[in-house]
């Protein structure tokens, strides 16, 4: 143990020397200020989630940047990466949120609690409101593997710490959206939008929706909730005042996944699965505005676990998780669905964050 501590001191010392190195202090940009961040969810059993960085200029890829920078593994399943001001919030559904500097990825704090008294159980996403963190958490499974103790955890300090209160929600809260003085919560299993007043102690009301809610989308000044069933996907327009569903666009796509990438002009790319027995995944190009399928077979492959859209080069990024056998690959497609290049990723790449 002592040796380890010594090693820690030496590492800290070397970092200090590194940071004092005058030849280095002219780098104005953080190492990860520009480029593509690839969210690698990781395997649940091995907790090997982390982030990869791709440099658009040099084509260089760095794997496991959290571990590289902080000299310890991320040790979690990376569910979501949420930016806010100078920070990235790395949400691990294994029960913690790691907070890092947006440009350097240096750890600045965490929400985790202690082993005997965990602050979080299965966090899924996060939003900042009123200088507080609101973290959606599935809570523990009950004896029938149901999520009946889901909640929003509130942390008063933006750089982490303890949970100050837990507000019960409908089952399995996912993505969050801040509007007016409220937070809208997409609850997956309950199929509701829960409305939580910022600063409040309980969910004020739950709006039932058709389909399983996946994420909130802003389009042409409208606020949409993307939801899906096994036979169709839905874009529910949410009234910005009373949060009722004012209009619904339904598109008949079988077995759609929650993975969607918004492009331009109301167009989007969505991943669906062919189902038994082939399990080929498909990307369909749709128009949310017109409610039409533009190209039902834009791209086909196996196990496409994440999708993103780069507005600068107008390219579609799809991730192949390689059957969770080792690390995955990001496949870059042009507007015609032709493969332009591939980028090696970490384990189970599930999303992309473009910093152009």
């Amino acid at each position: 143990m002592r040796n380890f501590r010594l090693l820690g001191y030496l590492l800290a010392l070397s970092l200090f020397i590194y940071s004092c190195d005058s030849s280095r202090d002219e780098t104005p940009l953080g190492e990860f200020e520009r480029g593509l961040l690839i969210i690698n969810e990781g395997n649940f059993s091995s907790r090997d989630g982390d982030v990869s960085h791709y440099n658009f200029t040099t084509g260089e890829v760095q794997q496991n940047i959290f571990e590289q920078v902080n000299s310890r593994p991320f040790a979690g399943v990376l569910q979501d990466l949420v930016p806010h001001n100078d920070f990235f919030y790395l949400v691990s559904n294994t029960g913690k949120v790691e907070i890092v500097n947006k440009n350097t990825f240096q750890s600045v704090g965490s929400v985790e609690g202690s082993e005997e008294n965990p602050e979080l159980i299965q966090p899924r996403s996060l939003i900042v409101a009123d200088n507080k963190l609101y973290i959606s958490d599935h809570g523990p499974y009950d004896s029938n593997w149901q999520l009946n103790d889901s909640y929003i955890a509130v942390v008063d300090n933006l750089s982490g710490g303890q949970v100050s209160k837990r507000i019960p929600t409908s089952s399995s809260p996912e993505k969050l959206y801040k509007i007016n003085n409220d937070i809208l919560i997409a609850c997956r299993a309950a199929r509701t939008i829960d409305v939580l007043p910022i600063g409040g102690d309980e969910v004020e009301r739950s709006v039932e929706v058709v389909g399983t809610p996946a994420s909130f989308i802003e389009l042409d000044g409208k606020l949409l909730l993307f939801a899906r069933t096994s036979t169709a996907i839905y874009f529910h327009e949410i009234n910005r005042t009373n949060y009722n569903i004012s209009n619904t666009t339904e598109i008949a796509i079988q077995n759609a996944t929650p993975r969607i990438a918004l492009a331009e002009n109301g167009e989007a790319y969505i991943v669906s699965s062919s189902g038994y027995p082939d399990y080929f995944d498909m990307i369909s190009k749709i128009s949310i505005t017109s409610g039409q399928i533009i190209d039902s077979e834009f791209y086909q492959g196996r196990r496409m676990y994440g999708i993103g859209y780069d507005a600068v080069e107008k390219r579609i990024y799809v991730s192949d998780d390689n059957g969770l056998q080792g690390s995955g690959t990001a496949i870059v497609l042009d507007q015609n669905g032709e493969q332009v290049k591939t980028i090696p990723t970490g384990v189970a790449p599930s999303g992309f964050y473009f910093r152009r």
């Binding site: 143990m1 002592r2 040796n3 380890f4 820690g8 059993s45 091995s46 907790r47 090997d48 794997q63 496991n64 571990e67 310890r72 593994p73 040790a75 979690g76 691990s92 294994t94 029960g95 913690k96 790691e98 750890s107 704090g109 965490s110 985790e112 202690s114 082993e115 005997e116 965990p118 159980i121 004896s143 982490g160 699965s273 189902g275 038994y276 399990y279 196996r302 196990r303 192949d320 998780d321 390689n322 059957g323 969770l324 056998q325 080792g326 690390s327 995955g328 690959t329 496949i331 591939t342 090696p344 970490g346 384990v347």
Partner: protein
């Protein structure tokens, strides 16, 4: 008894680590031993290692996994102390080794592997490791090798009572009580044990900001069990023996660092075997019947499997130059799991032949054909030979070689799991060859043995579970080449009252993935994950009269986390130190007391990524024999 004496070949020495591939000499039976078919008899050309009984004594009540990890060149994937430990042999996967208890196959038919963490030292008397492909000898699973755990019962020993106690750090308390009685024709032995550890060791939690030192929680292990062995000499030519073992393990599953999981696993294992042996001047006829019942209760979800085994074989010594063994084995398997129920019938025919054309050359030929569920498993032949090409007064040098096929039939889960089980999945198969050189020297109280093996193996149809839509499904997808070197060395010298013994092993394992599972897979040419290329182990013992001191070290090279070979778990080395003293109390009571320091250097290490392991810890062994 005389007949048994004549037929019994090679007794396994319990005093030193022995590597038996050598020519077998007909030696006199320890007339007191209950007969057990000698494992090495038809294994010419291969390497068998019997674990030193003193090594077993050091680990009383602990998991057998610890013995293998610390005292052999084999690597076990350990998910924490006392947690799941699966064995990899010669770079193969966890299920690629066959495990037998008194001749019964005990790999779980649903999982296809054994958990060496729930097999306590004390649950058997003798452990023998068979290195390398041995499907023709043992049937399914023995692609990388096999492990045999046997009871060793005796006649004519009178009454004996044994009480073994181990106390140690982190709440360890292992207790075993054994009573045995035997006369000329009857032997009984009863053992009961309870092993407990709280496992609340300190570790640096790498999953938390700042990697704070914490105490491990939720990793307590409680185990208890009982064994009964019985043997009768029914007549001068007939012997009946039976062993029954019940083992119960209640484990809090140690969560991976950064996890708040609170999983609980209960393992209930019942094994019973009956052997009937009939001896004539040149024949031994054996009938074996056994039952293996396993139950895993994981957070209330039950998995039950049962194996009912019946086998018979005839071991025929045709002449000094020719021996034969012909047999048939039937195993009826039932699985009752949360997602499916299934049965499987496995029938095997086997033939083994030993030929000794000249006294220094011995050849074994083994053939086996298994039928499972109406399907033919790959036909498995093997041929091996030992040749002693130099024999002096004190020195002996021999070489050996073997070429063999092996296989592993798909597990019940592979075939029947709902959803995803693949009824059409094929057995995994391998072809393996090896060559070795062995030197033995014995002169004036000095003993020196060196052995080196080189092997090359090709495994195809390797089964991997891949995600297919919303569930996972197994496929015969991977092809792997395993190549490596095994070194075994031992030396001992007696100086008056002092005996110094040294032993060392080194394993170099290249397990290379030969194919890609998709166009974007970058694993081709890489080392299999969780498989160290290097493992070394060494042991020094110094005995002076009734006192013995021991130092043991093992070192494990880096293990890749994934097939991409990007991240690896750091190499580690552990050093253990022990001292024990034997003394006689009241002229009747033999006792020994031992003190041991494990992980002397307080090395901060993980066997598998993010699975915490304990730092320096202490243990006291007290053994009383009446």
């Amino acid at each position: 008894m005389l007949l048994i004496s004549l037929l019994y070949l090679v007794s396994l020495s319990l005093d030193t680590v022995t590597y038996q591939h050598s020519l077998q000499d007909t030696v006199e039976l320890h007339a007191i031993d209950v007969y057990a078919a000698p494992l090495e008899k038809f294994s010419h050309g291969q390497t068998l290692q019997t674990i030193d009984s003193r090594d077993l004594a050091d680990f009383q009540g602990q998991a057998f996994a610890e013995v293998l990890q610390q005292r052999t060149g084999l690597f076990l994937r350990q998910y924490g102390p006392g947690m799941l430990a699966s064995l990899t042999m010669r770079g193969t996967s966890a299920g690629h080794n066959a495990v037998f208890w008194n001749g019964l196959p005990v790999n779980s038919p649903s999982l296809g592997q054994a958990d060496f963490s729930i097999i306590p030292v004390g649950g058997f008397d003798q452990a023998t490791i068979h290195y390398g492909s041995a499907g023709a000898l043992y049937g399914t699973d023995a692609i990388g090798g096999a492990v045999h755990l046997n009871s060793r019962n005796q006649f004519n020993q009178g009454h004996q009572t044994r009480i073994n106690t181990t106390l140690g750090s982190f709440g360890r308390w292992n207790q075993l009580v054994a009573y045995e009685f035997s006369n000329k024709n009857f032997s009984t032995r009863t053992r009961a044990y309870r092993n407990y550890t709280k496992n609340n060791f300190k570790f640096n939690n790498l999953a938390r900001a700042g990697s704070p030192e914490e105490r491990q929680r939720h990793a307590a292990v409680e185990q208890f069990g009982a064994m009964q062995d019985l043997a009768w000499n029914l007549s001068k030519k007939q012997q009946l023996s039976t062993s029954i073992w019940y083992n119960f393990t209640d484990r809090q599953i140690q969560p991976v660092m950064g996890s708040n999981d609170r999983d609980q696993q209960l393992d209930r294992n019942f094994r019973a075997v009956v052997d009937y042996n009939q001896f004539s001047s040149n024949l031994i006829w054996n009938i074996k019947s056994g039952v293996v019942l396993d139950e895993i209760d994981f957070n209330g979800s039950l998995s039950q499997t049962a194996q009912y085994l019946l086998s018979t074989d005839v071991d025929w010594t045709v002449s000094e130059k020719l021996q034969s063994k012909s047999g048939i084995r039937h195993n009826h398997v039932r699985g009752n799991l949360s997602s499916y129920q299934a049965t499987d019938d496995r029938t095997e025919f086997y033939q083994a032949i030993n030929i000794r054309p000249i006294s220094d050359l011995a050849i074994s030929i083994n053939l086996r054909q298994m039928l499972y569920d109406g399907t033919l498993a790959p036909f498995t032949p093997s041929a091996g030979a030992d040749w002693t090409f130099r024999k002096g007064e004190y020195n002996k040098i021999s070489t050996h070689t073997t070429i063999s096929r092996s296989f592993k039939i798909p597990t019940l889960n592979d075939r029947f799991w709902v959803p995803g089980g693949n009824p059409d999945i094929e057995p995994e198969k391998s072809v393996s060859s090896e060559i070795g050189l062995k030197q033995e020297l014995e002169k004036d109280g000095f003993q020196l043995k060196n052995q080196i093996n080189l092997y090359s193996m090709w495994v195809d149809n390797w089964i991997i579970w891949l995600p297919r839509g919303s569930f996972w499904s197994p496929e015969n997808i991977r092809e792997v080449r395993n190549q490596g070197i095994e070194y075994f060395g031992s030396a001992s010298k007696t100086y008056g009252n002092v005996k110094v013994s040294l032993s060392a092993t080194y394993n170099y394992t290249l397990a290379t993935i030969l194919n890609s599972i998709s166009s974007n897979d970058r694993s081709q040419g890489n080392q299999l994950p969780l498989t160290p290329k290097h493992k070394a182990q060494g042991n020094i013992r110094i005995a002076y009269q009734a006192t013995e001191a021991m130092i043991n070290g093992h070192w494990v090279g880096e293990r890749y986390v994934n097939t991409d070979n990007i991240s690896a778990v750091a190499p580690y080395g552990l050093l253990d130190l022990g001292i024990s003293h034997k003394l006689k109390l009241f002229s009747m009571v033999n006792t020994s007391i031992g003190f041991q320091v494990n992980n002397l250097t307080n090395s901060n290490y993980q066997v598998l990524r993010l699975r915490a392991m304990p730092g320096r810890n202490y243990q006291i062994n007290i053994n009383v024999n009446l």
